[in-house]
Amino acid sequence: MRKATVLLIVIIISFLASPAYALVSSTELIEDSKKYDGKRISFQGEAIGDIMERGEYGWVNVHDGGDAIGVWAPVAELRKIKFAGDYNHIGDTVLVEGIFNQACSEHAGELDIHAESITVVVAGSQVEHPIDRRKAIAAAILLSMAITLLLANRYQKKHFTAAS
């Protein structure tokens, strides 16, 4: 009885978390764009760069490891995204559900997804970049070498000029 309950809970959770439509990769969307044109799809990846709000709607670019696809979504959906990926951040992993356009008529031929919903699947975070000590030591040694050679060059120039 307990096993059956646990199994039921697992099934319910996986049903709730799973995308409503076929999960498609960026490679499939770009290389097989005709097949998915106008269809409802699910696309999952990291929000990168900037959230560009334009009135009631806006753009976010979502990268799934292959390529990034532009997602056009209501501002309310976009504001669920707290982190967009850059050097200092890992962006939120988002599940986008909406209609894929091979050449969107609303956006002058863009290949895009018009999102109906955006769900943050994994929250992004700040990235720590610890200093590589070996690199720091190498930098100090190389800098000293460069300064020594600069001084040697100055000395030679002075000497050379004085002699000529």
Binding site: I30, E31, S33, I48, G49, D50, I51, M52, E53, R54, G58, W59, N61, H63, D67, A68, G70, W72, G85, D86, Y87, Q102, A103, S105, H107, A108, G109, E110, L111, D112, H129, I131, D132, K135, A136, A138, A139, L142, L143, M145, A146, L149, L150, A152, N153, Q156, F160, S164
Partner: protein, 500 residues
Amino acid sequence: MFLRPRLIDLKIIGFYTGKLILGIGFAMLLPLAISLFNREWGPVIDFVIGSSIAFSAGYLLSITCSNKKEMSWMHGILVVPVAWLAAMLFGAIPLYLSGHFLSFLDAMFDAMSGFTATGLTLIQDLDHLSYGHNFWRHLTMFIGGQGIVVVMLTLMTGGASGIYGMYVGEAREEKILPNLFQTTRFIVSVTLIYLGLGVTTLWLVGWQIGIPPLRSLFHAITIFVSGFNTGGFSPQSQSVIYYHSATYEFAMMPFMIAGAINFAVYYALFSGNRREIYKNAELLTMSAAICTTFAIAAVALSQIGIYNETFSVFRRGFYQQISALTSTGFTTVYSSQIPDLWGPLGLFGMMVAMGLGASIGSTAGGIKMHRLMIIFKAFSLEIKRMLLPPSSVIVEKYHHLKKNVITEKLLLNAFIIGFAYVASYIIAAIAGTFYGYSFIDSLFQSISAGANNGISSRIPLVDAPSALKIVYMIQMWAARLEFISIVALIGFIISSVRGK
């Protein structure tokens, strides 16, 4: 009989190459400052390492190759290809240290692509690259686009006597002003005027389309530098698609065209000769080429029927043709869409536009309009010769700053350089097919590299064999220098071995 070069010749070449390497070291201080401003400590260390190695090598060459002899024209032309290789080597160091490249060869590929203002890239995970490294990628395009050796050495040596050899070696055929130092200053001044205009425009448009002000400024600087120098690197992995904005695309387009115009034409305009813009044969040829290649793209895009509105056809087709013809290499469509969706005619239009290129004496690559115009004039001359009586004196003229006559020397130059470009496209395409890629994809990629364009084909460059990457690197290098100085270098190497 070749004369074997003497030690002093090597010393002169080494001395000026050292000066250039020092210049590369100084240039790295800019991204270092940007990394400091953004508190990117790892990249700060990368640029300290990179610039220290460049300074050390530069000073070492200055010390060991120190000499009193004046640089000759021939030394000047030989310094250029060697210095460009050195720039690639030292420029690649901070890129490789970023950890965004699979190998040092890949970092060198990007450095060569940057300095030659090509725009092909092998970088991994560009969207997480630091501001400092990203700025350095774009700065390489600025340095290379302006003329890496001439600008740096004119500034650092005050214009040595053999510097004109370098000027020619870097594929700038016309001296705009009598003094080369003044010419370089004029080129840099024009660039700075456009820099102010371009960065302000793109910064405001970027802000207006939803990019925060500071980030918009960074995007504006990088996109301007890349666009005006007809390079094609972009700060994000999606190229111009990232912005999802027709306004942004159209705002950058005038600067892409401006960078592809001969700087001598700017001098004529600034000197009050405004009619030059309507009369210049090269500009007229370029306008005709833009119209023709866009007409091909428009027909192709209308045929495939995926772009339903005229504006979509214009936005995709016109932008891509401008990007191809000016050899910028920005894209508003994914690279595989061109061969997959645009059909054979669209692909053909793109290859023609990429292969032809824009103006001589500009930052653009490719065969170039001036040569195309001369070749057309040569055909016209031959037809006239056939039709008119043998005793007729036939002269073919064209307007470029003044009335010019088509001479045999001009014709020969246009045919030889034009032939060298076409040969480079075909040889690298054959190399691509040798490694199992389709001929069309290989040809597209080879034209893109050989015309310093940077639009990618379906060939996954990162996974391509090292030998093929090296072929593309040689193509970018030779094409940017327009072959002459490379031939001179080969001659120099041969005479070092076989000369007496």
